[in-house]
Symmetry: C2
Subunit: 467 residues, 2 copies
């Protein structure tokens, strides 16, 4: 590992996290994942944190010789790894978790989700829903999420207060919504949210045009220019279902991805979400242009949208990140379950069990996400100089013993409740399963109040329709 | 619900479990799963247990009027449902969890699993491995499992001591194994295990011929006769991969399932496991003969074996149960995750989000399993006179709030650690996440010892091969 001499001024105390296994995620995925001795992890090492950053990673028995004053936290039976990066979420929709299930995407949106959103989504809904989502994500080891929803000011407010790292999507759609009258207003209101929060070190921003069927090529062209000028990413649903691609092509005589390519939008600033419909030509474009693909396996499975060809994308050299999508269609924000689903789905989709190995899935959920967000110099792996976004997973439990290979146990056997400690930028946000920056009982009470309000309205509507 | 007058002799105390939601699972799955008001659950009801059985289910406020002497356990924010039934497992293989991953089935078996089994599997391995598995299953809400492995006497011993309900498969293969020299010895040794344990009220037995490629038609014919004479089920891997069916057909000029049909083995006593390769004719046979299908979605995905056509099977009226398979290929025994995977996989496989609804998945994991094991009069649902095999799931957590629909929350959002209490035949085996009948730290120590032994051997072998 990289090492440097400890700071001599020693303004901030040094903290050593000593664990049975450390997964730095610094290696790019290779094919030798069957070798138990491949150094995908370090045994009995420690991470030295100073302030918000990782200072060093060294063997457990060298800590005191090198850092005599450091405070050691012993994490016996635990694995330390980079925080998980949820690269696609609609956090506030956690308030609609389980409101409607087992319907096709467009029917689900048109009959269940959009009507309830039109009636209930306001500042408090987004703020409190985002808090519920952040609480869930921190408890499950997610230290950074990329969001797309209305009222981005409320998303930023909730994220800032919690201490989590976030990329806030500035939602853009052409038609009127609870957030803005049209695309122009989406952009102007979005940019003022960006101006308000851009100096917060844990927050970054992107433009989030909803999808090709809700955002015109003209709007996309404008966003392309702005994203280049302001160095903001673009985060967009794309090729989610076969019907979407078919309808678009029928109307515009071109597939959505080719349209974006013509507009110059395929580039390393684009985070293309879902991508279940891809031909070979399109996969080549993604690779050539450095476009990132955000895979949401559980949402794609539940809505029967289709399979993102993750095996082919990785073979082609496309960067892959993983997202949960919103809890209304998933129905949780559990990145450990999501990356496991990604691995399993890739294998069954290709009928090839070597596709998306355990290590590749974990890499996609950490470094893959960091690259997609343009944050690969700051987060995604554990190495000197990077932000201390770290999680501890307790493998010393019945469900994950014995441990031949901690990577396998984390990907295929561990569950979210085994995440015991979470640090973001060196600040501990989960301590032995307890949230340190959020009031859990307030969040639960708010969730129940929203449910009561929404269900009551549903019953009144039903009674009215029966009169 | 059915109710009867409480016993007047009152030999055993009455226990009332009062919960926010009760899912009796007495309704067969219907298509109206989109209606939030369909009575798939009861709000604020209680289950009255007397001795090992369910005496009554009634509204929370009627308990004291009807059962003034009963002891009430309040389960606020919790859902009560029948214990999950894991219809296919190789429990002892939990000791090989994560030993080898991301390989095709036959390569995985031939290069990793079979060699280590040949060297290490003995009575203690099976006994201690089964204990590890039972501890995991109870902690995850599984109250009954159907197993298939060597040394069934040790499986029965571990199950009996733990108090879990189990169907022990009496493994049969033609060639020599660590358990027996040939099929005849498998049968004779198996029958003596059956004689030894058959009077234990929580244990049942079945014959477990491994697969068509390891058990000859002659052996199957013998088992067919015996299973009829002794009223024992047959539990068998079948049509797990396309290669298996292709190779069998090449050799025998008939597909395995048709061979079994000719031998009279397709009947309500057969539990056919995996079944990823099925044509329409075969699905009709399954329905006509009352054969049960055991679906192991995560194992089939991880090994890239193929998709069991669960949607078509349910449409045809075939009974479906769910199993985890062994933890060497899964890599856990988490039935909540498994039934969620079953729902998600059915939808993506058929590209139809209405396939295998949340309720249908939960039904398969409870009543479906009970029917497959021939125990539908005793377990699988919560109703008067059935065994008190009950689990409590705490939905009052960040990850499962708000609750519009407890069925949706349990299937799509809850995780195993939210199972707080487990009763089998009225006996509490998990109390607020603590195992009452098993010594957790002994089990963990045993698991680590086996791992050390197995890894040490691997290193020695590697050194020898390098000399």
């Amino acid at each position: 590992m990289n090492t440097i001499e400890p700071s001599t001024t020693n303004k901030h105390p040094l903290i050593a996290l000593a664990a049975e296994w450390i997964l730095p995620m610094t290696q790019t995925p290779t094919c030798d994942h069957h070798d138990l001795e491949a150094p995908q992890w370090l045994d009995n090492h420690a991470i030295i944190i100073q302030d918000c950053k990782i200072l060093d990673i060294l063997s457990r028995d060298q800590i005191l010789a090198r850092y005599p004053d450091c405070e050691i936290t012993e994490l016996k039976g635990m694995a330390l790894m980079p925080g998980l990066i949820n690269a696609h979420c609609h956090a506030a929709m956690s308030l609609l978790r389980g409101y409607s299930d087992d319907l096709p995407l467009h029917q689900w949106l048109e009959t269940a989700i959009w009507p309830v959103e039109a009636q209930f989504v306001d500042d408090e809904f987004v703020y409190q829903g985002t808090q519920l989502a952040i609480a869930e994500m921190l408890r499950g080891g997610t230290t950074c999420f990329q969001d797309m929803y209305f009222m981005p000011d409320q998303i930023a407010r909730a994220a800032q207060q919690s201490g989590i790292r976030a990329n806030i999507g500035l939602m853009v759609v052409d038609s009127e919504t609870v957030w803005a009258r049209d695309a122009s207003e989406c952009i102007s209101k979005g940019l003022s949210v960006y101006d308000q929060y851009k100096h917060n070190s844990n927050l970054t921003f992107s433009f989030a045009p909803h999808a090709p069927y809700t955002v015109s090529p003209q709007t996309l062209e404008k966003l392309s220019t702005l994203s280049f000028e302001l160095s903001l990413n673009i985060h967009m649903h794309l090729h989610e279902t076969a019907a979407e691609v078919f309808d678009y092509q029928k109307k515009h005589d071109i597939r959505p991805l080719e349209q974006l390519h013509k507009l110059g939008l395929l580039n390393p600033q684009l985070n293309a979400v879902h991508m279940t419909q891809l031909n070979e030509q399109e996969i080549s474009w993604l690779e050539e242009t450095g476009t990132h693909v955000i895979h949401c396996p559980q949402s794609n499975m539940k809505l029967a949208s289709g399979c993102c060809p993750t095996g082919q994308l990785l073979d082609a050299g496309v960067n892959l990140a993983i997202g949960t999508d919103g809890a209304a269609s998933n129905n949780d924000l559990d990145m450990l379950a999501e990356l496991q689903s990604a691995a399993l789905l890739a294998k069954i989709d290709c009928l090839d069990p070597e596709k998306l190995s355990a290590y590749q899935a974990l890499y996609a959920a950490t470094m893959g996400g960091a690259k997609a967000l343009g944050l690969e110099d700051d987060i995604g792996s554990l190495e000197h100089g990077k932000q201390a976004d770290i999680i501890a997973i307790d493998l010393n439990q019945i469900e994950t013993q014995p441990v031949y290979n901690p990577v396998s146990q984390i990907v295929y056997a561990a569950s979210r409740n085994q995440v015991t400690h979470v640090w973001v930028a060196g600040k501990q946000l989960l301590n032995n399963r307890q949230l340190t920056s959020l009031n859990e009982s307030n969040i639960l009470n708010n969730a129940r109040s929203w449910k009561d309000k929404i269900l009551e309205n549903k019953i009144v509507q039903k009674q009215n329709s029966e009169l």
